[in-house]
Symmetry: C2
Subunit: 114 residues, 2 copies
């Protein structure tokens, strides 16, 4: 085992069954950087909703599948495992759909104050 | 296609064949956060070498396999796909071995100034 201050885990461990809401687990939470595991089981952004985030976000799809949509540009971006996207602050986007089973697992790195 | 300012790619694309050095591709490079794809094809840290980094590092192993070793603690940490490790600044560590074929792909998030 590594030293006591070395945290570790597995992003595929403890995946929830299908549920109403996305599950977000915060792995790193610092003033300038937040790293999250997000598990989607079929969720999508509500109709007409657009994310408009203050922080830059780098997101990787690890398993499953999803489609992002951007307000500027069309018709969308289909994501498969290994795909990453850099979404600058205030680039309006939405999640059109996510694969439910097996679940869709994302790693998101939110960067503020940089 | 998304708007012109939305960069995207796939972490498994364009994997190099076995080579002498690790391949490091910088995906995000900001004052406080650097995100890299690292491809190892059998490399390990030189005998007696320990990383002693000024920045905190969050690393995920995406494919392949590897073993990390920490100066404090033993005997090491075997990594499989999906495994993540948070290595605080100045926690001395080394890479004992990496799987060469298929290659070992890491995503590393280096955080400084936070």
């Amino acid at each position: 085992m590594p030293g006591a201050d070395v945290r570790h885990g597995n992003l595929m461990a403890g995946l929830p069954a299908r549920q109403a809401e996305e599950q977000i687990e915060r792995l790193i939470d610092r003033p300038t950087v937040r790293i999250e595991r997000i598990v989607s089981t079929g969720q999508a952004s509500p109709p007409g909703f657009w994310y408009d985030q203050a922080d830059d976000e780098f997101v990787v799809l690890l398993t499953g599948a999803a489609r992002l949509r951007f307000e500027e540009g069309s018709p969308g971006l289909d994501l498969k495992p290994g795909d990453w996207v850099e979404i600058p602050a205030h680039v309006r986007h939405r999640v059109e759909w996510t694969q439910a089973d097996p679940p869709t697992v994302w790693l998101a790195v939110h960067r503020g104050g940089a």
